[in-house]
Symmetry: C2
Subunit: 80 residues, 2 copies
Amino acid sequence: MKARIHITLKNGVLDPQGKAIQQALAGLAFDGVEDVRQGKFIEIELTESDADTARVQVSDMCEKLLANTVIENYDIEIVA
Amino acid sequence: MKARIHITLKNGVLDPQGKAIQQALAGLAFDGVEDVRQGKFIEIELTESDADTARVQVSDMCEKLLANTVIENYDIEIVA
């Protein structure tokens, strides 16, 4: 199974990297950009073949290592 | 409109960050992890209200700034 994980900053947490991208886009004359937020995207290839077990396992990985749950949200998608 | 962009390393391009995550997961006794790839996830809020125009605009942003198209692929999803 493959797990696709999105890790994004929680609302209200300052995102300097997103702001830097926004300013760079403005500098390249891209108008109409209201907001930019940058997050992480992690793809994990698992040997586990049961989707529910895989989800629990990946959720545990997020809590323990991948995400800083004080300031970040994570979203897990299990694909076959 | 909102654009969700995934920027991932092309197949065959070494991903040291992914390997570091994989080793850290192994160190935390998570078995069954075959491969880890880390990419970027960018959300852009646009004033543009036409989906096709927004896609062209974001594609242009990826080519010029957001992705290094020599080693990275990008995937754009436009959401209302």
